[in-house]
């Protein structure tokens, strides 16, 4: 049974998912985390809110695949990855990645790998709504 956790969540991530406290373990000396937060500005424009669309069954499956990929950095790593979808406002957390390993280099590398691969491949799309009343589907970042 995998000790990894990965899930698509409706709405912004609850505060409980921002902490890596659940990953503290005596065999893992290092935890690296990344939290993505909805920004109030993009390309110089004010963002009022945004909506994440998602191809959910594929996204759930892909998160598992990406964790398997990240295990190249440390076969014993533990990863918890959550992505929120739907309506969010600036300041709300949309993604949380926590990786625990024995040593810190692998934790940083695996955490970084996960967010980069999420931004390349996870079937999640961001529609930004601006303070001038317009909106835009973003094309990756």
């Amino acid at each position: 049974m995998s000790r990894h956790v990965h899930r698509i969540i409706d709405g912004p991530l609850p505060t409980a998912l921002l902490t890596p406290a659940a990953l503290t373990a005596p065999e893992h000396g290092a935890i690296a985390s990344f939290i993505g937060v909805v920004r109030n500005h993009h390309n110089g424009r004010g963002v009022t809110h945004l909506v994440y669309d998602c191809y959910r069954p594929m996204a759930e499956k892909l998160l598992a695949d990406l964790i398997a990929e990240a295990m190249r950095f440390d076969a014993d790593l533990i990863a918890h990855v959550h992505h929120g979808i739907g309506h969010m406002i600036p300041g709300q957390p949309s993604v949380a990645i926590h990786v625990a390993t024995a040593h810190r280099v692998a934790a940083f590398d695996a955490c970084r790998h996960l967010i980069e691969r999420i931004k390349e491949d996870l079937p999640v799309w961001k529609q930004e709504f601006y303070d001038d009343g317009t909106s835009l589907w973003l094309k990756g970042s």
Binding site: M58, K61, S94, P123
Partner: protein, 82 residues
């Protein structure tokens, strides 16, 4: 030549004005063949469609894959999660 459901998301769903189509596709098709079939149905949006990737049964495809009426095809515009 199975009839297969193709799912649309995000800007593709908005621009095509629908969240899916049923298309007749070859029993084996690669991403280019799937994109061509979608473009043939929606010629006004062929530029957008050409920028998309194709997933079959929740997996991006590169080479040709077998298709059946049970296959779930998705048109994947450039993603922007995180």
């Amino acid at each position: 030549m199975p009839e297969v459901t193709v799912l649309y998301f995000a800007q593709a769903r908005d621009r095509l004005g629908r969240d899916c189509d049923t298309l007749v596709l070859p029993a084996s098709a690669d991403a280019a063949a799937v994109l061509a079939a979608i473009s043939a149905r929606h010629p006004a949006n062929s530029a957008l469609i050409a920028r998309c990737r194709v997933a079959v049964d929740c997996q991006f495809i590169a080479g040709p894959v077998p298709l059946s009426p049970q296959s779930e095809i998705a048109l994947i515009p450039p993603v922007s999660g995180g």
